[in-house]
Symmetry: C2
DNA sequence: TGGCTTCTCTAAAACGTTTTAGCTAAATCG
DNA sequence: CGATTTAGCTAAAACGTTTTAGAGAAGCCA
């Protein structure tokens, strides 16, 4: 059995309250006593009971990480989510917080989130977004006055805190890279839904075209599902065009790798016949054939900043929402090359 | 502010204890009252305070997931760890438990684990192993009488519960596959440390040789660090042998992909000049060039079974340790092929 | 009718902390 | 020297549950 503060007090011949205050460094207690108490606590291996402290202090020092992922997303983007998680966990550990995991697989459990709030399981929540609509969750959390931060998805509502990568900037960077390599007909293979991630990357694509004075051609856009079949169809139709694209900008690295594979099946060489760009900068993008040019998102940093944003919410009373957009980086590898 | 059980009791004109018992379905309380209480609880959105319940019940319904990863491991095997985590999380959710994350980055914090035990932050612990010695942690947890399960590492001590993949079987399977393809000189590129994972895979390799009556040649073994430099050196020395190997069995997919890249740099074709096998079956093994033949580990299943093992520990009093070894699968892709 | 169950409820203790209010003795002040 | 502050401690309440012990009424048996 673990030792309690009462045992410690008895052992020292002091009252429980004195011991508690000594451990929590109140001005009330003499230095001599404090030292004795700390020494005894260390010697006897005393650690305060978490539940009792939580109850009395009305804080848990726990942060809930709620994963809201679409099924397909979960599979291949593990590296992405795990990196976010590590970033969040490290930042939390430094501040002496713990992370509690909640997987809201189906949005079918609306009261799951309600219970988390009402039963005070955590002090705040990080919403990990993955190609899924969060308005329901956001409304719930706002109404429950539970501090929260959305990570890796920009949120319109100016009251809501979020930390996301610069998807628009990334889309622009990728497209500029292809344009500057001499491409004029660049296809974009994006998601079906126009969620913030997808629409921002597309917006960046369009902006780059405008900057370079190239006309935007809607026929070069494809909105497909995540699976290889969807991608395959998109590529078929693109290559069947009278003037097929010379470059393909895929929504993310997963799609880009599928694109590589499908192009190879068709006997097309990358980057000679068609250039390919990805997005995310996950590690497998460097081991594909050819290695993928892509846009790197600072994923671990996203997690870290999300935690820090939440901690800010805890510390201050009347705080502004934290709305951060992190810069991304162009990584040039062998799937793109200046046109000869 | 969240509503308390006292508010609920007052609202119903009942005592606090009656309401509590009604909610927890005691035989003590009439059906009529139970129904009224449940209805009111639902209507008012009452959920019991987690900390108070934890304190009184002396259980947290939380499971700690302690990551013990070597630095290099963390990077590329995210998919692996995230899959384990998902498996564990799903199983936990079904049993109404939550997962708390602890990253024991450096083993330098011995009292971190002690605090987790003594302050009763969780009911039990899942030790996620990643190429790191766990004896310190295992001793601590045993001594503290904290229920725990080691996942993805076999443990010698027969008192300790673990769930791991059949590394020996996998090593055997991989080697048999290469032998049956006609290879006679098969190199093994393993870890420097002879941890259970590494030594089991190596043992399987040796067993396969014995089964097929091929002499074991120690000169074909390499024990290297995880980084490309280490792998590069191993390959150099292997290819410099008078009779170089015709196949390479790498400890895991990450190493195997490095091997592929290095062989290609040297102008060697895979599988024609040298065959390559990986281990793990992570998704990037299917997108490398050529796609990697490998041994698939049921990672999500590992996490799931670890949780279930822990739950068994909770429910039974005098329980046997759970010691499970899960079967693995040979996946044949293009990096291996029968010798013409 | 009187004692004994049985049924349904309640009062109060308990879980292990933190924190408020207050007490005692020494120190300070005019 | 008496009044007032101050330093250092303690008692007890509080946090929101669960659970033990028991109370009162109704039903049953002889």
């Amino acid at each position: 059995m673990a030792i309690t503060i009462k045992d410690l007090a008895d052992h020292l011949g002091l009252s429980v309250s004195t011991v508690s205050k000594a451990l929590n460094d109140y001005g009330d207690i003499s230095e001599r006593t404090k030292q004795q108490v700390h020494a005894a606590a260390k010697a006897l291996g005393y650690f305060p009971d978490a539940a009792a402290r939580n109850l009395r202090r009305k804080e848990t020092r726990r942060i809930g990480v709620v994963y809201c992922l679409s099924r397909t997303e979960t599979q291949q983007k593990s590296e992405f989510y795990f990196a976010e998680l590590r970033g969040a966990a490290n930042a939390a550990e430094i501040a002496d917080y713990n992370l509690v995991l909640y997987t809201l697989a189906s949005a079918a459990q609306p009261d799951r989130l309600l219970r988390i709030c009402q039963s005070k399981e955590v002090d705040g929540i990080i919403l990990m977004a993955g190609g899924v609509d969060l308005t329901g969750q956001i409304n719930m959390l706002t109404q429950q006055e539970m501090p929260f931060v959305v990570v890796s998805q920009r949120v319109e509502d100016p009251q809501v805190s979020f930390v996301a990568a610069d998807n628009a900037g990334g889309g622009r960077l990728a497209t500029l890279h292809l344009l500057d390599a001499g491409h004029r007909r660049i296809a974009y293979i994006g998601r079906v839904s126009l969620d913030p991630e997808n629409s921002d990357r597309l917006a960046g694509y369009q902006q780059a075209l405008t900057e370079r004075g190239i006309a935007f051609d809607e026929r070069l856009l494809r909105h497909t599902s995540d699976d290889p079949a969807g991608i395959r169809e998109a590529i078929s139709s693109l290559l069947a065009m009278p003037e097929p694209p010379t470059a393909i900008f895929a929504f993310n690295d997963n799609r880009a790798v599928s694109v590589l594979k499908i192009l190879q099946e068709r006997g097309l060489r990358v980057p000679d016949d068609v250039a390919v760009m990805g997005f995310d900068g996950l590690s497998f993008s460097s081991t594909s054939t050819p290695p993928l040019s892509t846009i790197f998102q600072p994923v671990t940093e996203l997690g870290k900043l999300a935690t820090q944003a939440l901690l800010e919410h805890f510390s201050q009373e009347a705080q502004m929402p934290v709305r951060k957009i992190l810069p991304v980086e162009l990584i040039v590898r062998s799937s793109t090359r200046p046109i000869g």
